[in-house]
Symmetry: C2
Subunit: 317 residues, 2 copies
């Protein structure tokens, strides 16, 4: 029997995609079930073992805001044995940066908003105030020779403001790049984007001098759009795609339980298209099924459910 | 607040897509909970009220094989008041055709397999024998001036044979068109297709004289690929897309509970792309949430879950 999916490339797509795996950070941060530090460490090790090479490990945010990631200080040192794996961490401010750098982090990420409403809700600041807060973080991170990723959330829509104008996103994105970010991750935090919108935002960024090769895309699957939006981004030339093992992660501003683009669903498509990722889909799916067991509910990833039937009812494991 | 999704077209896509709604037939046929005839009738009426104009109503297959659709004779007459709505019905053989025509059906569909294994499992015939069985059905349907759709299943992969060669699919597709089918529906019955494979099959069919405007695509979401494959088909010029309200329908040959491409997830994408469908997404989602209540489990459609929160736990309704 010939393996599935059959590999048939489509024209105009990249030969290789770098997956920025966010399951351990974005995926877990809103989970109410506390995941023990040793389980998180095993999760990251298993993700690396499945071939992922960029694994966002945790966040050095104040524990009050994200209790699930309060163990960043004890988790991060446990991940240092991994060869050839980048382990970026989120830092909200200079204090978080200090904590991360003191533990040897060499890739950090800041988290900005494209809309005033979300900047206020998430950071209790205006967009301008939040950028002013990030500027010394980015400068000092660069001085420490760390690689800096700038997350930009609500790039396509916002629960308070509705549709977000492209020019507004471009303005904040430019500010992040101008302050020294090495790459940008365009977040569709509430999952409302569609392919034309994705390509229009990418084109507008290009026109303002932000090259496609510094842009990653970060889609949520709230309306089932994450993978088709990813395809549209790949067709534009994007080669960095954020995804979450098993589709972990929910947006607290949408009632749907669905979260990030599932890494497995992405890898299935890329395998079919003959686009290299270095990921072993079987190992990755087994890892996500194992984590679904720890969380006590089915994996939201359709590929995980199809490949690992017990992931559908993990409480029976 | 500006409505979501924002409408931004992408180049090279059709201005209008005809959705072939299969929820009442393909969606319900494997449901174990018997849906009363009056609920099915209301379902079809509500789908029409939401703006769907091609609604596959039922199947005139022997009740022993599909008990859920054993009420075709009593259901179909209840749907005759719908203006400007096409109501195709599936017929497996000449006896089914006689039953459908006697009730006034003017659109019928036959169901062929691209693989020998599925022809044997589903029809207990070789592919050649099944085509020989369909030939008089199609001929007589055309004599009765009915429109004939030829379903072709397992076009991308098969649970027994793995990947299915494109030339094998083209051969059976050509036979269906040569015997007089008006349109073809390419089924990814186990949901394994990826975008390059979709476009390669469409190109191969075009090369053999099967025009894109007689081809519909029918994707299942077993691996989360249905919508990105649909986007790839639209980019090739396809304008007929099969979908199932609320994502109803499971493939009995895959253990995953996921089924057909959800009509709502499709409409969200098409709305964002500015592609006309005539469908009211709010009404359609409410209809699917209502049907999820009858079936006693959450709608698999992410859009339905996001727009109608109670669709996540219908047993509480």
């Amino acid at each position: 029997m010939d393996a599935l999916p059959m590999t048939i490339p489509a024209p105009g797509l990249p030969a290789r995609v770098r997956i920025h795996e966010v399951g351990a950070r974005d995926g877990l941060q809103n989970e109410k079930t506390t995941v023990p530090t040793e389980v998180k460490a095993e999760f990251v090790h298993r993700l690396a073992d499945a071939g992922l090479t960029t694994i966002e490990a945790t966040s050095f945010v104040h524990p009050k805001w994200v209790p699930q990631l309060a163990d960043a200080e004890t988790l991060f040192p446990r991940l240092q044995g991994l060869a050839d794996v980048h382990l970026p961490v989120l830092v909200p401010n200079e204090r978080g940066l200090d904590r991360a750098l003191s533990l040897g982090a060499d890739r950090i990420a800041v988290f900005a908003s494209a809309t005033e409403s979300f900047a206020k809700a998430n950071l209790n600041r205006t967009v301008a105030e939040s950028l002013a807060m990030f500027e010394p973080v980015v400068t000092r991170a660069k001085e420490a020779r760390a690689h800096v990723r700038g997350y930009l959330s609500m790039c396509f829509g916002d629960p308070w403001e509705g549709a977000v104008p492209v020019h507004q996103v471009v303005r904040v994105a430019k500010s992040l790049m101008d302050m020294g970010c090495d790459e940008l991750s365009l977040g569709d935090t509430i999952g409302v984007a569609t392919p034309g919108h994705v390509q229009a935002l990418l084109s507008a960024l290009n026109e303002e001098g932000v090259a496609t090769n510094v842009i990653g895309v970060h889609f949520h699957d709230t309306y089932g759009q994450a993978l088709s939006n990813t395809l549209a981004a790949l067709q534009h030339g994007v080669t960095t795609v954020d995804a979450s093992a098993g589709g972990l992660g929910g947006c607290p501003y949408a009632k749907s339980a669905t979260g990030n683009l599932a890494t497995e669903d992405l890898v299935w498509m890329l395998n079919g298209l003959g686009i290299e990722t270095g990921v072993d889909l079987g190992r990755l799916s087994a890892t996500s099924a194992w984590m679904a067991g720890h969380l006590g509910r089915p994996s939201p990833s359709r590929t995980v459910r199809a490949l690992v039937p017990e992931a559908q009812s993990p409480q029976e494991q």
